[in-house]
Symmetry: C3
Subunit: 139 residues, 3 copies
């Protein structure tokens, strides 16, 4: 495997912490010159709706009230949101974000209702065609 091999991410989760983890990993990989290909499914796709992308999202259940307070304190101190981190990652590197067509049907969304961070819609076989080399993550 080479250092410029792509990283493909199936982004499924719609919690703020997992979206932030995905965004930070994407920014780190992009900073190292690795292409990142994100495939949005289910609740992650829901979080990319244009009218929801700034909304407060839940955390993983194990976060508890203490974890919620920590995340809110960092946001109040000026931490970038996950969508801002992804926007920055797209500026510094090669980051492609595609919505899963099956999940578009599930959530009854049109592409025009998605935030411009999303580059397009594709099926799972198209995703795997580009994800055949390099590393693969499910978040």
């Amino acid at each position: 495997m080479n250092d410029d091999d792509p990283i493909s991410v199936v982004l499924f989760s719609g919690t703020d912490d997992r979206l932030q983890a995905a965004a930070v990993l994407t920014a780190g990989a992009a900073a190292l010159g690795r292409p990142v290909h994100i495939f949005l499914q289910y609740w992650a796709l829901d979080a990319f709706r244009a009218d929801r992308i700034g909304a407060t999202l839940p955390l993983a259940p194990e976060a508890g009230p203490e974890g919620r307070a920590a995340v809110d304190a960092l946001a109040a101190a000026g931490q970038q949101s996950w969508s801002e981190t992804l926007r920055m990652a797209k500026e510094i590197g090669e980051v492609d974000i595609q919505a899963c067509s099956l999940s578009m049907d599930l959530l009854n969304i049109e592409q025009s209702e998605l935030d411009p961070l999303v580059d397009g819609v594709e099926g799972v076989t198209a995703f795997f065609a580009t994800a055949s080399s390099g590393q693969l993550l499910f978040i």
Copy 2:
């Protein structure tokens, strides 16, 4: 990495949405001719019990009532269940499903109590021996 490298999936989650995501990714990979090797742990293994495989399962907590309604509406409209999708994937490609022996002990299950979708039981070192090449996912 070659296009026919296997995809190995540690399938841990017992929610309907993550099982469906895993099944759809498996079917997509199988359609492209890639072998898929699934290793069932914990709550995913529990979902493959012969007497539970058709049962209604919870969703990820962030789905909320709106997400539940969307999933139920698609099922009512005739969407394949995750187990039907996996059955189809096994017909079109090379899909092997193994139960983790440690999780069998945890859940106190015998192989005869599992759905025939499950091909066998193996330990984690046997899993890694076959998963040493190709991509690896944890769902």
Copy 3:
């Protein structure tokens, strides 16, 4: 990919079941001679605090009371905890555990407050520099 290629794990979750799954996969890979590199984020990092590492942790929500009872019964029967499994994995193989510097800030932790299982603190680009080859998991 070679059999001695590393496995890199972004360990995010702070539930007992996912930490145990990660520990068992790490021990299995280490037993086969594969180096394992673990990067602790969010609630997984929180679980490695020296004063919490033996504490009872929640399970994935889909475990339910039946799952909780199964996990508690196995622990009462003498099953190793996830931290003991990781300690053993470090004895038999090459297992490196790093805390994510961003998550250290989030949780307001100093390295001196972490269990000695943790070998150091690094940023996400340093993690990806070592994770550029081999398989990558997000748990």
